[in-house]
């Protein structure tokens, strides 16, 4: 199996230190004035040449947001966020490019540094056994979408959401906010009011998307928030696998990221959504880093539809994120595979919600939390079985691994079953890296750090195998980098 070989390479190859995605790109940026008001929203909407209905939708969300307060139930702590001290719109100065040739070369170099195959040639060269189409969002604006033509031939729409609003308004209008309503929660409302870009994917009936789709999000400008919105629709019998990756420069200040992702799967459709989240986590003393408050939800509307969330969360100072599935269609299936790593002063409160509405629905939850340093890592999950969900099944497995004795791991599972035929299973373990495992590895010649990486990777294996190959390799590298300095 090549994955095996890759793993070894990876574990041994990662020796460089610190956060290597922390550089800043020198490009001219257009910034909206700091602060949030109707005026800011009108400005964003105007910049994006949006139709009236969308502006109205944003303003409604803003009105709802003003009546809401930040949720406080998560096990995370941070100084108050000043929502008036953030730029809600930042865009590279140059006009939105029509083709790759028009993209600012400085931007292309940034994406090259990030290892993203932005140009089609690079994509072809970089990815074995398949092609990856990439949409790249830089601060608030989508800068390039590759492989458009190939996808168009298959009937797949993959473009920045702002473009979809212009080119496919009927689709956007039908589905936007249909899974995560504008007033769903504090951060979703904020996103609905000010979202600037993100990806739009539409896979029509019967189409298997011919390649992996992926989006890279990059926060570059100072004092900006990133509020992207992603909408993916798979019609009957359609299939798509989508990946997102995220990085940000190193800064002393905290930056806000509040994204919304909505997935809709119709009859027998399948959506696989994978995330490799590596926002800047802050330094070893806990200064700086991204506040990652994200609402991700998928609706299995059709019978026997499937949605799976796979996430590898290594970055961010704070992660607040619960990718969920609404299992409405009869026999539909939801899955959540998660690796969340926290080190130093990072805080992660993450998990999933599986809402079983239809009969014979099933869900699988596999969560692997790794805490090191003085970090806190919480799994928070809800499995709700509604009265009509006869024979619903859930299997949950939550494993926590502790490295050192100053970190914390917490598991908070909520189970609500309102149908007697349903079966819900929950398993949870908490362990430390065992001394005998470390010694066994070291006695074979591995350094202490490599030994920890190997053991931790083994711990995460069940989740990594859900990721497309090339991203599994990236995930392992990230894991190694995140845990650097956590032993000894």
């Amino acid at each position: 199996m090549p994955a095996v070989a890759e793993t070894i390479e990876t574990v041994s190859a990662v020796t460089e230190g610190g956060y290597k995605w922390g550089f800043e790109t020198e490009i001219e940026t257009e910034l909206a004035p700091k602060g949030l008001s109707e005026e800011t929203i009108r400005l964003i909407s105007a910049r994006k040449e949006e139709p009236e209905w969308l502006l109205a939708w944003r303003l409604k969300a803003f009105a709802a947001w003003q009546t809401m307060t930040e949720p406080h139930w998560a096990r995370v702590a941070h100084p108050p966020i000043d929502y008036q001290d953030i730029h809600y719109y930042a865009a590279p100065r140059k006009k939105t490019p029509k083709s790759l040739a028009e993209v600012d070369p400085e931007l292309l170099r940034t994406y090259e540094k990030l290892g993203i195959p932005l140009s089609e040639r690079a994509a072809l060269a970089g990815v074995e056994g398949g092609q990856v189409a990439v949409d790249a969002v830089f601060d608030s604006v989508s800068v390039a979408t590759t492989f458009r033509e190939t996808l168009a031939k298959a009937g797949v729409i993959f473009c920045p959401i702002s473009e979809a609003v212009r080119e496919h308004p009927e689709l956007v209008r039908r589905y936007l906010g249909s899974v995560v309503p504008a007033g769903d929660n504090f951060f979703a409302a904020l996103n609905s009011a000010v979202f600037t870009d993100g990806s739009f994917v539409f896979v029509p009936r019967g189409v298997r998307c011919p390649m992996e789709l992926s989006t890279y999000f990059r926060i570059n400008a100072r004092s900006t928030g990133q509020f992207e919105r992603t909408l993916i629709i798979a019609e009957d019998n359609a299939y798509v696998s989508y990946l997102e990756g995220c990085t940000a420069p190193m800064r002393d200040e905290n930056q806000l990221h509040a994204a919304v992702v909505e997935l809709v799967a119709l009859n027998e459709a399948e959506i696989k959504y994978s995330t490799v989240q590596n926002w800047y986590p802050g330094d070893a003393e806990g200064r700086g880093g991204i506040y990652n408050f994200v609402t991700k939800r998928g609706a299995c509307r059709g019978r026997r539809s499937k949605i799976s969330w796979t996430q590898v969360e290594t970055g961010s100072a704070i992660t607040w994120k619960y990718p969920s599935c609404i299992l409405q269609g009869e026999g539909s299936h939801g899955a959540f595979y998660s690796v969340a790593v926290t080190n130093n002063h990072q805080q992660a409160d993450t998990g999933t919600k599986m809402i079983h509405i239809g009969a014979n629905t099933s869900s699988t939850i596999v969560s692997k939390g790794i805490s090191a340093g003085r970090s806190n890592n919480t799994y928070r999950g809800l499995v709700r079985i509604m009265p009509k969900a006869a024979n619903a099944r859930n299997f949950t497995q939550c494993d926590s691994l502790l490295i050192g004795d100053k970190c914390g791991a917490h598991t908070v599972p909520y189970i609500e079953s309102r149908n007697a035929t349903a079966r819900v299973e929950h398993e949870a373990t908490t362990s430390k890296i065992a001394e005998d495992q470390l010694f066994y590895c070291r006695s074979r010649g591995l350094s202490e750090e490599d030994s920890v990486n190997l053991i931790v990777n083994g711990f995460c294996r069940e989740v990594f195998k859900e990721l497309p190959m090339e991203f599994a390799v990236e995930a392992q590298k990230l894991l190694a980098v995140s845990l650097e300095g956590s032993v000894g």
Partner: protein, 251 residues
């Protein structure tokens, strides 16, 4: 010249003295057997030699190929050519055996300033070693020791040894739990390495292993000291009379 020179080695575990002054010289190319009753300190000696945390050296010295062994980290000892086949091999869930072994092999190679082995050549070598040990290729895909039978775990240790090609192997009861055929295969695995570049300390309770791996010397450990040393005939004598007389002699 001795590859391994142990002088007056004392060690304790959790404040309890276990090794009480061990003297042992293992010349290059020789295989010595270490026998002795349960709890006499055989595994402790093996762990102290490989640098396990919690096994505190309180006196004495150990030189390995001219180096101060006790000053080295466990991984440095491995790189210097020391290998311990564990009495109780450890399970590593989710870690593939092939991955583990190639990582180990390359770590050791890097430390020795050698070129790393690529996946293809590694698989070639690994498969060849497996065939010599009459083990299935499937072993490579399984997670390290997870769900292995007792005998499979022991054979996996010998397989690792075959690939890592140590200068000094410490085999801690590698024969226990092996069926007769497996015992022969393991012994052949050790004998195949025997020569001027390979020495071994073979810890065992049974003569039947020493029928296959004929040792140059036999040492008997009792209550943390070597109380008797002799040729291969010593092991045979012990088989007949047990340790009872020796313990009394030492006391």
């Amino acid at each position: 010249m001795a590859l391994l020179e142990i002088e007056g080695l004392c060690a304790e575990v959790e404040g309890k003295p276990i090794l009480r002054g061990i003297d042992l010289a293992l010349p290059i190319g020789e295989v010595h057997a270490i026998m002795g009753p349960n709890g006499s300190g055989k595994s402790t000696l093996a762990y102290v030699l490989s640098g396990r945390e919690g096994y505190t050296v309180t006196g004495g010295s150990v030189r390995f190929a001219g180096q101060d062994l006790l000053a080295m980290e466990p991984e440095e000892r491995a790189a210097a050519g020391l290998f311990l086949a564990f009495q109780y091999p450890v399970e590593l869930p989710g870690v593939g055996n092939a991955n583990f072994l190639r990582t180990a092999l390359n770590a050791v190679r890097r430390a020795r300033g050698e070129k790393e082995i690529d996946a293809i050549n590694f698989l070639k070598e690994a498969r060849a070693a497996l065939r010599r040990l009459s083990m299935a290729d499937e072993m490579l895909k399984r997670n390290v020791n997870v769900g292995f039978s007792g005998g499979e775990k022991k054979r996996n240790e010998v397989f690792q040894m075959a690939l890592l090609k140590p200068r000094l192997a410490i085999l801690d009861e590698t024969d226990s739990g092996l069926d007769i055929d497996a015992l022969k295969i393991v012994a052949e695995g050790v004998n195949a390495l025997r020569g001027k570049d390979f020495s071994a300390l073979v810890i065992t309770h049974y003569q039947r292993l020493l029928d296959h791996i004929v040792p140059d010397r036999v040492h008997v450990l009792s209550a943390g000291r070597i109380v008797r040393s002799g040729g291969p005939e010593l092991a045979k004598a012990l088989e007949a009379s047990g340790y009872a007389g020796l313990a009394a002699e030492a006391a």
